[in-house]
């Protein structure tokens, strides 16, 4: 099937925003880069909104989108609900932050938003589990969606930390990026190898996904502990590679699918 770029960008960006806000929530407890909390939350909100808008561009009748509220069991409804809940939580968090509300309330809202953000990545992949498309029909697919979004979110958070919280101790986030990168590489490879790449393009995209979403962020995460002065370069490089890797993983999904039958032979 043709790559559905709107949906590729939707899932890659909302996944990044959700996991980025999860880092903000984690730092509410660790307190390593307090100066980055507000700008990182703003950035996560902006990325999630841009991702949400990207999904609308593949609809032929976006004017009827409110009709989605009438069928709350569909995957699209779930995704829209989670994006909405994530954005509401981030906005509430920002208001609490600006009004210097109690740390307990801020932490609670941040954790709830983080849960929505992380769940969003998984559920975006879960929507594609259809009996009609056998090589989409594995929990490895949404797991790969989630795992490839994690390095994106951590790297994006570290970019903000590098810009707004200079001198912050980012060692825990470096370790998280290392672990997240390894898991992303394993997750992406696991699904794609299970589904069975059919041609050289899909194999090449798998290499890009594993290197971009996994190996490069993991290597940068490992080096962060030794070279904290290179935080911006490491985080920026990781972010770019993780985004390209996450996009590649999602592109493979569209290219690799083979339906049970396509008797009218329509090109979607």
């Amino acid at each position: 099937m043709e790559i559905q770029w709107s949906l590729v960008l939707f899932t890659a960006l909302t996944g990044m925003g959700g996991c980025m806000f999860a880092c903000v929530a984690v730092d509410e407890f660790l307190g390593r880069a307090k100066a980055a909390a507000f700008p990182a939350a703003v950035a996560a909100l902006a990325i999630a909104i841009v991702g949400g808008l990207a999904s609308v561009t593949h609809l032929s009748h976006p004017d009827r989108i409110m009709g989605a509220l009438s069928h709350p069991t569909s995957g699209i409804f779930t995704e829209a609900l989670l994006v909405g809940c994530l954005c509401v939580c981030v906005v509430v968090y920002l208001v609490l932050f600006k009004r210097e509300a109690g740390a307990g309330a801020r932490k609670a809202v941040a954790v709830i938003g983080a849960v929505f953000g992380v769940l969003l990545s998984f559920m975006a992949g879960e929507s594609y589990l259809m009996e009609a498309r056998p090589n989409w029909c594995s929990q490895l697919l949404p797991l790969g969606y989630l795992l490839t979004a994690v390095p994106e979110g951590i790297a994006a958070y570290l970019v903000v930390v590098a810009a707004k919280a200079k001198g912050a101790d980012v060692a825990p986030y470096g370790r998280a990026l290392l672990v997240g990168g390894v898991l992303a590489a394993v997750g992406a490879a696991a699904y794609v190898l299970w589904a069975g790449p059919a041609d050289g393009v899909q194999w090449a995209l798998l290499v890009v996904a594993v290197l971009g979403a996994g190996v490069v962020p993991a290597a940068c995460g490992a080096l962060l502990g030794k070279k904290p002065e290179s935080l911006m370069a490491m985080a920026g490089g990781s972010l770019a590679c993780a985004f390209v890797g996450a996009v590649s993983y999602r592109c493979i999904m569209w290219l690799i699918t083979v339906p049970i039958a396509n008797l009218f032979l329509n090109v979607l």
Partner: protein
């Protein structure tokens, strides 16, 4: 709830495509778009032992229709008569239903930018007439009715057939209602997923090439 569907006797079908043309005329379907399509399955075997049959395909009126499950707006729905239909006024064009259909028998209306499919000619059957494809079938190979009504044409056709000759398209848990009658004396039934699947963009020739 009724189980309205089509039954197609492939022992009788001559592959004239009259049902396909009648469907397009009755429902005003654009060039290149289909609600019903006749496929050539075969020839299979080794000369001189060759066999071939024709497989008319359209919405299979699945009892557990995946298109209805995935539709975010309820545009794909099951009506009071149990028919799976599309309300094009509600369709947002996400095409999830087209992805979820195990058979790819939904059609994209490029002009209206909405998904559509076989309606079992509700405009005709509600007035007591047969669907256009059934009425146009010169081989009397197509039947319409309620599988739960023993006096319906479909129930009679199914009852008259050898149980070994009754087939459905591949059931992925969606429980297709449409029944096909094909006896071994005409050809061996080939499930659609047993034929090597092609990519979505490939031409129809693969149906004929696969042995």
């Amino acid at each position: 709830m009724s189980r309205n569907c089509l039954v197609v006797d492939l022992d009788k079908c001559i592959g004239c495509h009259a049902c396909e043309v009648a469907c397009k005329n009755e429902n005003g379907i654009a060039l290149g778009e289909y609600w019903n399509r006749v496929l050539q399955i075969g020839p299979h075997g080794t000369f001189p032992d060759l066999e071939q049959y024709w497989l008319p395909v359209q919405c299979q009126q699945c009892e557990d229709a995946p298109c209805v499950h995935v539709c975010p707006t309820g545009a794909s729905y099951r009506d009071a008569d149990g028919k799976v239909l599309v309300d094009k006024e509600k369709c947002i064009g996400c095409k999830y239903c087209m992805m979820a259909c195990p058979y790819g028998v939904r059609s994209w209306n490029a002009k209206e930018k909405a998904v559509e499919k076989c309606t079992l000619c509700g405009q005709l059957t509600s007035a007591g007439q047969e669907p256009a494809c059934v009425a146009a079938c010169c081989a009397n190979a197509r039947f319409y009715g309620d599988l739960d009504d023993p006096n319906s044409d479909v129930s009679k056709a199914v009852a008259a057939a050898d149980p070994a000759s009754l087939h459905t398209l591949h059931d992925a848990g969606n429980k297709p209602l449409t029944r096909y009658i094909l006896s071994d004396k005409i050809a061996t039934w080939h499930d659609v997923d047993a034929i090597k699947p092609a990519s979505d963009a490939q031409d129809a020739a693969w149906f004929a090439k696969e042995a």
